[in-house]
């Protein structure tokens, strides 16, 4: 599913990053959102740590979907975490986030995510003892808020509870 639902819909979703429709802004496909996500969290750029997923259009259509965690009200990922409230946590604002230090790398949350593809990045190719799950925490500790939104060159992503920008 594409996440272009905002919180005005009755959808059981929490505050999350949404992609605006094409006639508001067309995703340039630059990957900056994915890259800065890794940079602000781990200081690295890697497909294995991004928490936002640019699903590139089929057959070189160059029409890309930006997929993110919806911070669901029922959050099955959280429910399945064996280290609930230590590794997978929910903060007072309803942000579902992972405390990396406590994550044991079982991958159950990634499997439990109700969206396809899963909005939790879990690289099975990583050495077993080093595996960790990575998911969007809405940059909860960052002063400027979500880095992906701040650095998107065409501002085609925003937060679900922001008013939808005017069409040009």
């Amino acid at each position: 599913m594409n996440n272009n639902l905002n919180n005005e819909s009755e959808n059981g979703l929490g505050r999350h990053v949404i992609q605006y429709p094409d006639d508001i802004s067309f995703c340039a496909g630059c990957s900056a959102c994915e890259i800065v996500c890794g940079l602000v969290h781990e200081g690295v750029s890697s497909p294995s740590v991004k928490r936002i997923f640019l699903e590139r259009g089929e057959k070189q259509s160059l029409q890309h979907a930006v997929l993110t965690c919806q911070h669901c009200d029922d959050h099955p990922c959280y429910e399945k975490c064996p280290k609930q409230d230590l590794a997978m946590c929910i903060d007072e604002k309803g942000i579902v986030y992972i405390n990396q230090d406590e994550c044991i790398g079982c991958g159950l949350c990634a499997k439990a995510c109700k969206f396809e593809p899963s909005r939790i990045n879990f690289n099975k190719k990583t050495e077993k003892t080093k595996r960790k799950a990575y998911k969007c925490d809405l940059c909860r500790t960052r002063e400027n808020g979500p880095a992906c939104i701040e650095y998107c060159q065409v501002k085609c992503i925003g937060l679900s509870d922001w008013p939808m920008p005017e069409k040009a």
Partner: protein
């Protein structure tokens, strides 16, 4: 080995003959040679001698990313490859840059680049995944068009792979065949697609899950903010009534067409590539999306050349210097009129009237699709082959030539027939034109088939008819680009003497990575006699060095240099690698790279003053839109000044030992001395 930031630390040597892979530490070459083209130049100097031809197994494709690639430093997603170009005349060492996501994927897979050598026994493609390189059979890919090849590879290896591939043009050794990546970004100018073909190499596919670690993530983010300035705003998909550049050549799209702007490469902070949606395909009924940049617009209509904005297009002030990447998405805005030089800088003129072909939106789409899918350099098709046929036909030079279908560049059917004939080397003329324009015209007889004057070019500045040869050739088997005549003729002499000097010193079209830039205050001083001013030579040297830097660090010609932020590239390099680097130090590395390139062409191809002056001079004897040319004396005066500024010998054009040694290349001087290619002092 100390930990390297920015780089992954490994270069793979991939031998197609014996299917072996060995790894070379990147630290053998960096930071001295930076990355990208700088490293390629060193490897080529060390490994490929003068006797090798473009299609010999001994030719190598050296592919390199830069330390900024995949770090999130804007424009760093670009990468570069070098080798002997089959499309250069004569065959010489050359290079080609490419955007897309492939470079970043290669780094995530664990490599900074690779050296491809030898020749596979049968059609092969390489599959690179997280430090593992496999040689796989390309039997089921051979013959496929570019997009079908990409799609098949995604079908086999998953949607998240990134590839570079060749189409039928490369397989059939068409000398201007390109290498294409998933967003239609190509390495085209050097014909390396044909080198892939000669090696039986159809594609390289990469997938990686590793990490690239910049020395300072904070600095990367700061660069992202500063380099995007003043812009980070919505850019919607729009419906346009048609397509053209400037007021002329307007090709109406029935019912309008959908247009958006997309980034060219991984991590770029701009969106200068145009995405044209639901376009007519040359091969199927289904509509296709095309990514297009500058030259493709002329496929849609070519009655008039590009318009001229005034000296301010090239010579800038602090108030008026717009990044080129803002130009195509038209985000530059109008020039700042509060500039005291505004009046002199901006003086809009229409381009030359040329009448090559009438606007036709669908035919334009088909031409671009043919080039995209066959994997052919668009420049050669759109500004050389088709204008040549258009002009030559009007001048009667093809009256005796039977291509099997009447020559008519206005006809979609003819263009399809023509490209099919050339790409598949059908018949005598298909085979001949697949050898590239420069070679084909020489075989046919250059005097008639190249130098015949077209009577249909009119300057819209003076109203005069101006001479133009039917073959828009410049030096080294390339077609004109931003050189004062032919395509993008609309620039004045102070600018075009500089771009021609760039081209003279190279082995191919340089205006893809070295669009000439200088300060307006210099223009005021040099404009009356640009060939006698050291300022012209100094600006060319700056531009040449910046080009080496851009292709090494890596960054993009459309965003750098910024004449009012000259250490931008040094900041990018330092943010990626952590090596403290000043603008002057980076410039030194660029000089080193340029010198290695110079030494290669001197050692391998006998480059000297005589050869290069004679290669570039003829095109400048045809008038620019103002009727201006250069004299032999003027040009040679400029070459004298340029060599002097470089510290090269005036008689031979060879750098001296002192110059090589100053840049840490004493070993190059030693080797050149042994073969008598070092000037006496």
């Amino acid at each position: 080995m100390e930990k390297l930031y920015g780089y992954t630390g490994k270069i793979a040597r991939i031998n197609l003959t014996d299917k072996s892979v060995t790894e070379i530490p990147t630290s053998n070459y960096v930071p001295k040679y930076l990355g990208g083209r700088g490293v390629c130049n060193k490897i080529f100097w060390d490994e490929v001698g003068p006797e090798v031809g473009a299609f010999d197994p001994e030719n190598k494709i050296i592919y390199m990313t830069g330390p900024t690639t995949a770090t999130g430093i804007p424009t760093g997603g670009r990468s570069v490859m070098t080798g002997i170009s089959p499309n250069n005349l004569p065959e010489q060492y050359s290079w080609s840059g490419i955007g897309g996501w492939f470079g970043a994927e290669v780094k995530f897979a664990g490599y900074d680049g690779f050296i491809i050598e030898g020749k596979a026994a049968e059609p092969t493609y390489l599959y690179i995944e997280d430090g593992d390189i496999q040689f796989l059979s390309a039997k089921n890919l051979w013959g496929k068009l570019v997009h079908d090849t990409q799609n098949k590879l995604e079908e086999i290896h998953g949607r998240d792979v990134n590839s570079i591939v060749i189409g039928p043009a490369g397989e059939n050794l068409m000398r201007n065949a390109s290498i294409t990546t998933s967003n239609d970004n190509v390495a085209a100018k050097s014909g390396f697609g044909a080198v892939f073909g000669s090696k039986n190499l159809k594609a390289i596919t990469a997938k990686g899950t590793g990490a690239v670690v910049p020395a300072s993530a904070e600095k990367v983010l700061e660069l992202r903010r500063r380099m995007a300035n003043p812009l980070m705003d919505h850019k919607p998909l729009v419906v346009e009534p048609g397509h053209s550049i400037g007021p002329a050549n307007f090709a109406e799209a029935k019912g309008g067409f959908k247009k958006a702007y997309v980034a060219c490469s991984h991590g770029c902070n701009q969106h200068c590539n145009m995405l044209m949606l639901d376009m007519k395909s040359a091969f199927k009924d289904e509509k296709v999306n095309h990514v297009e940049k500058c030259v493709s617009v002329f496929a849609f209509g070519f009655e008039e050349d590009v318009p001229y904005g005034g000296p301010g297009d090239t010579f800038v002030t602090e108030k008026n210097h717009t990044l080129a990447c803002k130009m195509i998405p038209r985000e530059g805005g109008p020039p700042d009129e509060s500039d005291e030089h505004f009046g002199e800088m901006f003086n809009f003129q229409r381009g030359d009237k040329l009448d090559f072909w009438k606007p036709d939106f669908d035919k334009g789409s088909v031409i671009n699709d043919l080039c995209n899918e066959y994997g052919v350099d668009k420049w050669d098709v759109i500004v050389w082959l088709l204008p040549w046929l258009s002009m030559g036909k009007k001048e009667g030079v093809f009256d005796e030539i039977d291509l099997g279908m009447e020559i008519d560049v206005e006809s979609e059917e003819f263009v399809k027939y023509l490209l099919d004939m050339i790409v598949y080397r059908k018949g005598y003329y298909g085979n001949l034109l697949a050898e590239g324009m420069a070679r084909a015209i020489r075989t046919l007889g250059k005097e008639k088939f190249g130098d015949t004057i077209y009577q249909g070019r009119y300057s819209q500045v003076t109203g005069d008819r101006l001479d133009l040869p039917i073959s828009l050739e410049t030096a080294w088997g390339h077609c004109v680009h931003w050189q004062g005549r032919g395509f993008e003729a609309s620039m004045e002499k102070p600018a075009w003497v500089a771009t021609n000097l760039h081209q003279m010193n190279s082995t191919r079209d340089t205006q893809t990575i070295a669009h000439h830039h200088d300060y307006f205050k210099n223009y005021v001083e040099l404009k009356d006699d640009p060939c006698r001013s050291p300022l012209t030579a100094q600006a060319v040297i700056m531009g040449e060095n910046k080009a080496e830097i851009k292709d090494s660090v890596t960054c993009c010609d459309w965003q750098s240099p910024d004449l009012f932020w000259m250490d931008m590239e040094a900041q990018m390099f330092e943010a990626a690698t952590g090596f403290k680097t000043t603008e002057a130090e980076l410039n030194e590395a660029a000089e080193r790279s340029k010198l290695l390139f110079r030494a290669i062409i001197i050692r391998n191809y006998g480059r000297d003053r005589n050869m290069e002056v004679n290669a570039i001079f003829p095109i400048m004897t045809y008038p620019d839109p103002w009727g201006q040319t250069v004299t032999w004396k003027e040009w040679n005066d400029l070459v004298d000044i340029y060599y002097h500024e470089r510290g090269w010998d005036k008689e031979t054009g060879w750098p001296t030992r002192a110059v090589y040694e100053r840049f840490g290349l004493g070993f190059v001087a030693d080797e050149l001395e042994k073969i008598g290619k070092l000037p006496a002092n």
